[in-house]
């Protein structure tokens, strides 16, 4: 890599280039959010990726899937292919291990990551990713957006950081059993959910900023957890009210003992 390539981000620290290049990043879901994330990570100089998405590009993706072109919808190009082309175009030395499936169908490669981005649609999917990240000691950064209401929509979204040993998505008030159960009850009734490109861009950029901070430590601020709430109608990203007075010394939902491969118990 030429010295010029990353010269404008040298403020991230003298070791930042090396730290970024040797980190392995997972991205689960390469749609509206994940495609922004992979693009930004490649620009920044990340080189080791493990990515998952079983879908192909469709016409309805073209309003937000970064890197996808009209021809990709016609050709039904796999989304992992779009992501790989994005990375290799910016980082020819990169290693992209791409899987055209859900991460649950091939979980072992994901465990090599130090940071995993969850760009999945469901609460259940988020919960499963967080469990995997806790079990194999990985930072988990979740992003998601939704449009509420049918007449004048309200755009909302979130960026959550859940790190081993710190408060989890349940601790910060983002995830609970009720949300998951309601989602299960709605399964198949929701239809296509509204998605647009700019909220995904805001959320992805915020998430990538967290990852760069985790890898380089450039801000020197502690990051035991993050729960940021996006209001797309106001154009604001603020810390969730639910974490303002959060006092948690240890996450009650994940024990430090529950790591590694699960051990079957004889009954």
């Amino acid at each position: 890599m030429s010295a010029e390539r990353l010269a404008r981000q040298s403020f991230l620290g003298p070791e930042s280039e090396k730290r970024i290049a040797r980190s392995t990043i997972g991205v689960c879901g390469l749609g509206g959010g994940g495609s922004h994330i992979i693009q930004q990570l490649a620009h920044i100089g990340f080189r080791r990726f493990v990515i998952y998405d079983g879908d192909v590009v469709e016409e309805s993706n073209l309003n937000r899937l970064v890197g996808a072109k009209t021809v990709d919808a016609a050709a039904e190009t796999p989304k992992i292919h779009i992501a790989k082309m994005m990375v290799y175009g910016l980082e020819p030395q990169a290693t992209v291990r791409a899987f055209p499936c859900r991460w649950q169908d091939n979980p072992e490669p994901l465990r090599e990551c130090q940071i995993v981005f969850g760009c999945v649609d469901s609460y259940q999917g988020r919960a499963e990713l967080e469990v995997a990240c806790r079990r194999y000691l990985m930072h988990y950064i979740d992003i998601g957006m939704d449009v509420h209401g049918s007449k004048q929509g309200t755009i909302g979204g979130q960026v959550v950081l859940s790190s081993p040993g710190g408060p989890c998505m349940r601790c910060v008030g983002f995830l609970d059993d009720e949300k998951i159960q309601q989602e299960v009850a709605r399964y198949g009734k929701a239809g296509a959910r509204p998605q647009v490109v700019w909220p995904n861009g805001v959320l992805a950029s915020t998430a990538v900023g967290l990852a760069v901070d985790l890898v380089t430590g450039w801000t020197s601020r502690p990051l035991p957890y993050v729960y940021l709430v996006y209001d797309g109608n106001r154009g604001t990203v603020v810390e969730s009210k639910t974490v303002r007075n959060l006092i948690i010394s240890a996450c009650p939902h994940f024990s430090s003992e529950d790591v590694g491969d699960p051990i079957p118990i004889k009954l």
């Binding site: 730290r19 090599e112 040993g165 790591v259």
Partner: protein, 174 residues
């Protein structure tokens, strides 16, 4: 076959803090960390450290020829930990600190003394990974003996999952 040792940041700081304490007569400290296996592709493995046992001052033996020598009581406790770790396949890792910055590795004394412990751990905890972890002030190196493998191998990296994420790769020493 890729092998990586992974430690949470809080736990890593606890280990460094304990090993940095002065001992009444030993020049350095030793501890035992406990780790579980996470499987990777191609028979690779993560060793995820989950706990740490600081060795009490009284369990050291005065021996000026080495930085630290621990007595049979400390080793017995580590063996017991390996034995009691069988249900969760939790192995034991000998840990100590080299007080310098940058990549580190085994000294001549380390090479002669520490690997002798591993067959004992393995004899009581055959399904677990056991090994050695040597830390410097800002780096680290590990050796792992996986179940069903014939010998101890050097870990490709020791990772600390905190802020910043630390990735201590074995290639750094070359």
């Amino acid at each position: 076959m890729k092998i990586e040792i992974r430690i949470g940041a809080v736990f890593y700081e606890q280990i460094l803090e304990d090993l940095s304490r002065c001992h009444p007569f030993a020049a350095e400290r030793v501890g035992f960390a406990f780790g579980r296996i996470g499987s990777l592709v191609d028979r690779g493995a993560l060793v995820l450290l989950t706990g740490y046992h600081a060795i009490p001052d009284a369990q050291y033996i005065a021996d000026p020829s080495v930085g630290a020598r621990i007595g049979s009581e400390a080793i017995t406790e580590a063996m017991q930990a390996a034995y009691h770790g069988r249900p969760t396949r939790q192995g034991v890792f000998h840990v100590h600190l080299h007080v310098h910055r940058g990549p580190t590795g085994m000294s001549e004394t380390d090479r002669c003394e520490i690997p002798k412990l591993l067959p004992g751990f393995r004899s009581v905890g055959r399904q677990a990974a056991h090994g050695i972890l040597i830390l410097s002030l800002n780096h680290g190196a590990g050796w792992v003996w996986l179940p069903d493998e014939p010998e101890v191998v050097r870990a490709h990296s020791v990772n600390v999952i905190g802020k910043p994420v630390e990735i201590f790769e074995s290639e750094d020493r070359k």
